[in-house]
């Protein structure tokens, strides 16, 4: 379709950038190099959205080359309406990560940006991969830079958090590897499309086992209750950019896996797991919200709120109706925007105060009105305020849940109420009231670079809230095809 292999270019340009950064000597140049690379990647991906045919559910911008012919594995990339928004999100968040780390990262600067760029390659590659082998490669590649980001540039408890993250995700992905091999053994292909077209040759029992194997990998990444406990530690200890990538993209990889692998390839297996998945999701929403209520550390609070919010996503996916699934995908994007923004906000103020304890804050509004306004906007978005992005996603998910069972919908709405409570309370304790004496003399207001880092996310939150069609229109065709293949 295009003159150059656009997906390959977008995927590997960051890797090239990473290699160049390691060759450069100066930290300053490394920063600019990283910024240029991420911006170039974002620019490279633009033709994808412009040239995309929304009416088709087929893969587009397909690239394919022989890779391991003896196993029939090809290097094949392609995007459909489900994966495309994620590529955009990954490209945008990568730019913002550079912006957020500009002044915050002072040690091993070049290595830091190299790791960030490798992570970008893994993120874009994962969503562009059109066969399971490549998907798995990028899935595992993602772990490496994240492990380093947490373990090297993290907070005081970084080693524990990094190891916990590594062990959780690795034990999940080992089972995915087993599942992948088993799939290849019985079907002789790893191409997503081919796998989805030939599911009938797997017995429901085989599908159930395979579903369980993939579930182990995906559930850890989402993370679903009760395999979520790595997340608060990883988030709390990670540097801001690490948290942004974790919350913005990494958590979405698991849910994306359900959409790409579990549902289309193993529909009968999914059928068997449907009810438990729905219940676990609803539990995660309420459970996560309760735990969030009592957190004393801002970053931990947002991390736990992610568990609750990702519960909405899995709830929507497993309603297996159009509004639920489309809402879930939209909500993945929304959560990527909002949680990234919240972590950026927390990171920016942490750079000045060096404390994450909520009790050390108070009355920030008086000294930092711009910061407070932006934080208010993102808190509102996270609380599902209509007119901002999350509302539409949650509305569609809850609507889908109601079509499945009224109780699920009611639990989700209870989660929304609790969500408002912890966000309003957080805002009250941090921003309203008398300015905390410990903040005296600190210049808390944002500088131009930081405003520029947050502004795109604020615009996106507003834009998706008022005109969700700009994502929903991509989803219509592929979701319809996805659901056509899954019995209900």
């Amino acid at each position: 379709m295009t003159a150059y292999p656009i997906l390959t270019a977008a995927t590997f340009l960051p890797l090239v950038g990473a290699a160049l950064i390691l060759l450069i000597r100066s930290d300053r140049a490394a920063r600019w190099m990283a910024l240029t690379t991420t911006l170039a990647t974002l620019a490279l991906s633009i033709p994808l959205y412009l040239g995309f045919d929304k009416t088709s559910s087929a893969l587009q911008f397909v690239e394919s080359a022989e890779w391991i012919p003896s196993w029939g594995i090809a290097y094949s990339l392609g995007v459909d309406g489900i994966s495309l928004p994620f590529i955009f999100l990954a490209a945008v968040l990568s730019v913002l990560c550079i912006g957020a780390s500009w002044a915050a990262v002072r040690t091993r600067v070049r290595e830091f940006y190299a790791a960030l760029l490798v992570a970008e390659t893994a993120m874009i590659g994962l969503f562009a991969a059109s066969n399971l082998f490549l998907f798995y490669m990028f899935w595992e590649l993602m772990i490496v830079p994240l492990f380093l980001l947490i373990g090297v540039w993290g907070g005081p408890g970084r080693i524990y958090a990094a190891v916990k993250f590594l062990l959780f995700t690795l034990s999940g992905s080992v089972l995915m590897l087993v599942g992948m091999i088993a799939l290849y053994q019985s079907l002789g292909t790893l191409d997503f499309k081919a796998l989805a077209d030939a599911p009938s040759s797997l017995s429901p029992e085989q599908q159930a086992w395979l579903f369980a194997a993939f579930l182990a990998a995906f559930a850890v990444k989402v993370p679903m209750f009760p395999v979520h406990t790595w997340l608060p530690d990883a988030h709390t200890e990670a540097p801001t950019a690490g948290s942004v990538i974790l919350a913005g993209i990494l958590l979405k990889m698991g849910a994306y896996g359900f959409l790409r692998v579990s549902l289309p390839v193993l529909p009968d297996g999914a059928q068997l797991f449907l009810k438990p998945m729905l219940v676990i999701s609803a539990v995660a929403i309420v459970y996560g919200a309760y735990v969030t209520l009592v957190q004393k550390d801002v970053k931990r609070l947002i991390a736990f709120s992610s568990i609750s919010h990702m519960g909405f996503v899995t709830l929507g996916i497993f309603t297996l109706n159009r509004s639920g699934v489309e809402g879930a995908i939209l909500q993945m994007i929304n959560h990527g925007i909002i949680s990234a923004a919240l972590f950026l906000c927390v990171g920016m103020i942490y750079e000045r105060t060096h404390t994450r304890q909520i009790q050390d804050y108070g009355g920030v509004a008086k000294v930092a009105p711009i910061y407070s306004t932006l934080l208010a906007l993102f808190c509102l978005a996270a609380a599902g305020f209509p007119g901002l992005n999350s509302f539409v996603g949650e509305f569609l998910i809850v609507g889908g849940a109601f079509q499945t069972s009224g109780w699920l919908g009611a639990m989700a709405i209870w989660g929304v109420v609790l969500g408002t409570t912890y966000l309003v309370w957080l805002f009250y304790r941090m921003v309203m009231g008398e300015t905390h004496p410990g903040l005296a003399g600190l210049r808390l207001e944002l500088n131009a670079r930081e405003v520029a880092t947050l502004a795109p996310l604020a615009l996106l939150a507003l834009c998706l809230g008022l005109y969700p069609e700009c994502v929903l229109s991509y989803l219509r065709a592929p979701v319809a095809e996805l659901l056509a293949g899954v019995p209900r």
Binding site: K164, V294, R322, F385, V424, Y428
Partner: protein
């Protein structure tokens, strides 16, 4: 249909005004940092906000004239905008003005405009002057979205928006601490109500497959029988949402706390407009409620109970704004009682007159507070009629209307609700008695307030506080509202079998026709006979006059009466002062268990159980690892051995399965 695109201007002009004012606010902040005062920018923000309101008022009048000029046209509608479209959900938004919303429009923009003018005087010199107008305009935007949206979901946008603005404005002086807390409370209470609203909406989607308000209203009739129970449940849930927004029992306790906001906010949001949104919602969906008599009765009970709680609590308050706040709670209860009896127009009538007289009373109290240098305690006032004559006269007009002194607006509107309750009979009898009793209390506390504030000795230090009349920007809106509060009854005079129609009832009859059709199912609506109506009017007049007199004379020389009560019945007084202990019940029965549950889940379940298992598994692995270390000794031979063993085990497993 679909050609009235200028209707979009109605909400979006105030939004534009809000954005302008917010820009000015950040401009003043910058100017102040550079050492300037930034007052000029601020005052421009105020002027823009008022100008925008004037424009909105003009548009509302234009819409009203369009409707009034051609009785064939029942609604003006703008073209629609596809907001959400996914799966079975498609939400299209358009702006609609029909007979009902045109009345709301005039109240919101009319009273809103006056309050904007008033705020110019009231907020003068406040460092957040421009911010205040930005919030106020934003509120008007949300309120107009609420009233004009064609879809329940669009209404929800406004519904949440007014909640947010209420939060921001209650906490406007959040540096003081307690306003921020009050704002937070209001937000969370409203969100509990909103959850009910959403649940009800999803139920409506399940029944009607749409959220378009007029489609829902028109298809209720067809669903009676098959979906009656579901519809009743949806109606009840939506009423739950209305309870949150309109401060009905048990969700009313945020409203008195909301008085922490600047007084114009109390007048606009917490008396005239936002808190009546619940009433508007029920009126809008009147066929749904007409089809669910049980739900109507529940609404009646809640309304009557709230009227009683509010009125009795207002009796013992010292803070002038708290009296008015509880009074508002009580008067909103009357509106819901009106809806419960199917007297749609009576509820709307009371909504309108209440907007006049309570808006007036709040602004009057604001003028008093302004003149008294932020003193709100009535025990420390007294004799103010000499110092603030204009405020005094207009306040009297508002008090007369609130207490139902004959021929004022509140007299007619409250009387109509009570008359309908009386006529309904049966189970509504006790509700009527509660309503009458609350009316007695209302007359009493209103004139107690007037006496304590404006009569008797000056109980403040005249050397420190020199009460003064407020500027014209404040007294002019007071005068206009005073005229409306006195003469507002003309909108809907009782039928009385004499020529002259009930204007308001006839005006909104196209909107309520569907509800009436279900309610009376062919039979004639109850109409009081002439003598009954006269008796009820006479009863209302007698109550108002007698108890207004009692309240006034008991307190015109100070608050000794309260002290006597306190020493005689301390428990009762404590019970009343704390609004029937509802808040402390919340603290004990809801907040405390919620906190406990959160702590238990967070520490016991999450940290100790789940994460404990994770760390335990880790430790187990470490231990077994150190045991295994002897195996991993680095010799190639032993590796080969283990590999062989492993491979054979795998082969055995493979072949067996």
């Amino acid at each position: 249909m679909g050609s009235f695109n200028w209707l979009w201007l109605l909400p979006f002009l105030p939004l534009a005004g809000s954005v302008c004012a917010a820009t000015m606010h950040f401009g003043t902040l910058r100017a102040r940092k550079e050492g300037n005062t930034g007052t000029r920018l601020s005052s421009i923000a105020g002027l823009i906000a008022c100008g925008v309101m004037a424009a909105a008022l003009a548009l509302s009048l234009y819409a009203f004239i369009q409707l009034a000029g051609n009785r064939e046209v029942t609604a003006l509608e703008s073209s629609s905008w596809a907001w959400i479209d996914a799966g079975s959900f498609s939400v299209e938004l358009s702006m609609v003005v029909d007979r009902l919303s045109s009345v709301m429009l005039l109240v919101i923009t009319g009273v809103g405009f006056l309050i904007h003018i008033y705020s110019i005087g009231y907020m003068k010199g406040d460092p957040g002057y421009a911010k205040f107008f930005a919030y106020l305009n934003l509120f008007v935007f949300a309120m107009l979205m609420l009233v004009l949206s064609s879809s329940l979901l669009g209404m929800f946008v406004g519904w949440e928006g007014v909640g947010l603005c209420s939060y921001l404005l209650i906490g406007f002086w959040h540096e003081k601490g307690w306003p921020a807390e009050a704002g937070q409370k209001a937000f969370v209470f409203n969100r509990v109500g909103d959850a009910c609203f959403l649940l009800g909406s999803f139920l409506l989607i399940a029944i009607f497959d749409t959220l378009d308000l007029s489609d829902i209203a028109n298809s209720v009739q067809a669903n009676i029988g098959a979906n009656s129970r579901l519809m009743a449940l949806a109606a009840l849930l939506l009423f739950g949402g209305a309870c949150g927004k309109s401060a009905q029992f048990p969700l009313f306790t945020w409203l008195p706390d909301a008085m922490a906001g600047p007084t114009p906010v109390s007048a606009l949001i917490h008396a005239a407009t936002m808190v009546t949104a619940g009433v508007y919602l029920l009126l809008r969906l009147n066929p749904l409620y007409a089809a669910a008599p049980t739900v109507l009765f529940i609404i009646g009970c809640v309304g009557a109970l709230t009227a009683l709680i509010g009125a009795s609590t207002a009796l013992m308050q010292r803070d002038i704004k708290k009296v008015l706040a509880y009074s508002t709670v009580s008067q909103l209860g009357y509106m819901f009682l009106g809806i419960a009896t199917g007297a749609w127009s009576a509820a709307l009538f009371h909504l309108v007159t209440h907007a006049f007289f309570k808006g007036l009373l709040f602004l009057g109290s604001g003028s008093v507070i302004h003149g008294m240098r932020d003193e709100q305690d009535m025990y420390k006032m007294g004799g103010l009629r000499r110092h603030m004559p204009r405020t005094y006269i207009t306040f009297l007009a508002g008090a007369a209307a609130l207490s139902g002194i004959p021929l004022t607006s509140g007299f007619f509107s409250k009387d109509e609700i009570l008359a309908h309750t009386f006529l309904h009979g049966g189970l509504y009898w006790p509700l009527w008695i509660v309503g009458i009793f609350s009316a007695i209390l209302t007359a009493f506390y209103t004139w107690r307030m007037v006496a304590l504030t404006f009569f008797g000795d000056e109980r403040f230090d005249a050397n420190k506080i020199r009460p003064h009349e407020s500027p014209a920007t404040m007294t002019l809106p007071l005068s206009i509202l005073a005229v409306l509060a006195l003469a507002g009854g003309l909108l809907n005079l009782p039928a009385l079998h004499i020529p002259g129609e009930q204007a308001l009832r006839d005006w909104i009859s196209p909107v309520t026709a569907a509800g009436d059709a279900i309610l009376y199912a062919g039979a004639q609506a109850h109409h009081p006979s002439l003598w009954l109506e006269l008796v009820l009017l006479a009863l209302g007049s007698a109550i108002a006059l007698v108890f207004a007199h009692k309240g006034f004379h008991g307190f015109k020389n100070g608050w000794q009466h309260d002290d006597a009560m306190r020493s005689k019945r301390p428990e009762l007084v404590g019970f009343l002062e704390h609004a029937w202990m509802v808040d402390s019940t919340y603290a004990a029965k809801i907040v405390a268990p919620l906190r406990l549950a959160s702590y238990v889940i967070a520490t016991l379940v999450d940290q100790m159980l789940i994460d404990g298992m994770v760390n335990g598994a880790g430790r187990l692995a470490m231990k077994s690892g150190s045991k295994l270390r002897s195996v991993v000794d680095g010799s190639v031979m032993s590796y080969a051995l283990w590999m062989g063993a492993g491979a054979s085990i795998l082969t055995v497993v493979w072949t067996c399965f």
